[in-house]
Symmetry: C2
Subunit: 194 residues, 2 copies
């Protein structure tokens, strides 16, 4: 059975971007090399296997509009997804087919509709809720997540976009299913109990 | 060389107490059994070894006034410390010797003075900065910490006392030195680089 899975990197103090990214200069101010070191500059074989497994098991990605706006240019063409991406937004736009199998689709009727479309596109594979924080919290609160894969980086940012701030966890319970240690991340995997 | 070491349990979303503890009913509302499960109800041999090593290597504890006020009654007599405890406070009070080797000492001239007194009391052993959040942030920002031992519990509280909120990390860099996995905690140990 296909799962709905969060995948996100977080600093030890709970941020998914560094402080500069939150004050209006997302690209110039951002330092993706630190939170994402484990995926790029400091990638070990274990880190690589985690990313490979994530991409191999995921058939479609859902993301928020802000993440799309911030990421669109640096991701380039072909984008790193290689699969359909569904962007939760208020703005109607035609789908944007990119190179390498990525298509950006814009969904204006809410997170459940975006998930339905992503499930259909993903077939037997998982749907990845890969950010940003706001969309992840919405799916978590709505009880629509099966799994969270949180990569905790050994960093203190003191600011930025917080992953969990404002979360209303209701009765959400997590069950830790694995924890993998690499130099630049602690990869924590949880089932979200319903 | 003796170290200055933080030791604190934190939920995945960054809180060191559950939400009720932050709104004026610290004892009645608190559910220490969840964040501290790894130390009590769900303690494994590995968890026990971590606590034993911490107590064996620590010669004095520093804590904030709020943590003392909240903890004093439930800790009872003998308190669980078995060593001198230095409480950072504005209120002058005589030392309170308790059973089992714990003495509560009240230090009114700041965090550096409290640390100096704790170092002297600890001798060759470490000084433990064991909470609360405010005192930990002050020592971290002042560059007085050598090590942080953070026990991340697989819980989402959505509120409570945040460990790192408001931190000004300046140039603080962490180097992860170990990560130990048990069912109810991920025990992350960091050197604080200076």
């Amino acid at each position: 059975m296909a799962k709905v899975t969060v995948h996100i990197s977080m600093s030890l103090d709970g941020y998914i971007t560094d402080p500069e990214a939150s004050i209006g200069t997302p690209l110039e101010g951002n330092d993706p090399g630190r939170l994402s070191d484990w995926q790029f500059d400091a990638k070990t074989e274990t880190d690589a296997a985690i990313v490979d497994e994530l991409f191999a098991s995921t058939g479609a990605v859902v993301m928020g509009k802000r993440m799309f706006d911030v990421g669109f240019e640096p991701w380039g063409d072909p984008p790193p997804y290689g699969m359909p991406v569904f962007i939760v937004t208020h703005e109607e736009r035609d789908p944007m087919p990119m190179k390498g199998g990525t298509t950006y689709n814009f969904v204006t009727d809410g997170i459940e509709a975006a998930l339905d479309r992503a499930r259909t596109a993903a077939g037997d594979k998982n749907v990845g809720i890969w950010g940003g924080a706001n969309v992840i919290r919405q799916y978590l609160e709505a009880g629509l997540l099966d799994e969270m894969y949180i990569h905790v980086a050994p960093l203190l940012f003191g600011g930025g976009i917080p992953l969990f701030e404002g979360l209303n966890p209701g009765g959400i319970e997590l069950r830790k299913t694995s924890s993998i240690e690499t130099p630049r991340a602690t990869h924590l995997r949880f089932d979200v109990m319903k």
